[in-house]
Symmetry: C2
Subunit: 227 residues, 2 copies
Amino acid sequence: MKSSERGETATQILEAADELFGDRGLDGVSVADIAARAGVNKALVFYYFASKERLFEAVLARYYEAHREALEASFRSEAPLEERLHALVDAYLDFIERHRRYPRLVQAMVVGDPAFHPFIQKNLEPMLRFTEAALADVAPASGPLAARHFFLDLSGAVINTFTYASVLAPIWGRDPLAPAALAERRAHLHFLVDALFAALERSSRAATTTPARPAPRSGRPRRAARR
Amino acid sequence: MKSSERGETATQILEAADELFGDRGLDGVSVADIAARAGVNKALVFYYFASKERLFEAVLARYYEAHREALEASFRSEAPLEERLHALVDAYLDFIERHRRYPRLVQAMVVGDPAFHPFIQKNLEPMLRFTEAALADVAPASGPLAARHFFLDLSGAVINTFTYASVLAPIWGRDPLAPAALAERRAHLHFLVDALFAALERSSRAATTTPARPAPRSGRPRRAARR
DNA sequence: GCGCACGCTGACCGAGCGGTCAAACCGACT
DNA sequence: AGTCGGTTTGACCGCTCGGTCAGCGTGCGC
């Protein structure tokens, strides 16, 4: 073996792929680009990772695992639920602030080739189940207030901050990823959690005090949806 | 001219491109694919649209314009603000339910080549300004409660419903785009609007009754963000 | 009837792509 | 010294891609 360390080469490739895929997406980067950035022969990429797609998945698998662990760690606590939810959002943001390419990679994969769907599902499902368990005490198991809806809301609100950042910068007149802007966004997301938590408690109180109205629907009469 | 109608050919190309790009993204589709689906010679694609990228932009421009008009129309009303906001969400959902490829196209473009950013900005800015005007009475001009944050939250919550649908289907155990699931999601988004509206009003009330605390911050003490 | 402009065609091009392969290299062990 | 297995190399392949171009057909104004 030539590399100074065992597994060194594979790691170099993985990290080069991480940077390039994160910036330009799967199709925006060639295997030759990755090999060049890693300072390695192109054929080595196929030696360590069977194909470009497998390499892409390997890059994402690292993130998914670390992400899941970060979320679960933040939630292991004796604090009251509301506080743990805020800690969860903080952990989510901390993780992405430390790994800014991660959301772009995920979005690119979701929108991209359906062949990746099984891989995404395998990694997304544990996080959804975790969220459902986390919200089990405050959100019903089904209907418009089920945990899965909040999972979509929150992850979307966090992730879009970063995927849209470069597009929004000139419109907002400042970089959404600058420290001050990120702190503001963080405060906003905590406001969002507070708002949702308060609304959920209000609706569950209403459901228990007036058991005549069974399911806590949106609380508003439906308006015309089609024209 | 050979086509039975003026502009017929260009429209056929545009619609074929719409379907294919929406399903497989910019790089997942070749110009030959588009020409074949349109029943047209490949060179004609370049005759009417200078390049593949321009064609992609043309597809999206139609959507952006129609989308903006739908949102603005929904908001022209004498009803109270809260009701108009619900109408806005309904209009947003109606539009995307009618044009399900639209969110995927947008996401693919945002994550894709930065060369598209100016085009996205040109189309996104009016919608952000519109949202800011719509929320002017209830959200401050800056800080964590500024309109732009709610713009990100809401559009993310709506769009992610559709971009993640095919991935979520097996995890949820049912198709998120089935009529019943969409109705449930719609109810949830109205709940979200209610929750945010209530929280905004509460925070602005708190700001006016206790003018000692100037900016209505998140209302929670900041917790440790970095470890 | 003529030519011009527009719509259209099919053959073609060079570049870049993901992926393969046979051979070279090299340290460890016998 | 020999050789064995994991690692590395550069040349190579087939293919697809976006884009070009010279020319063809035809309906319309003159």
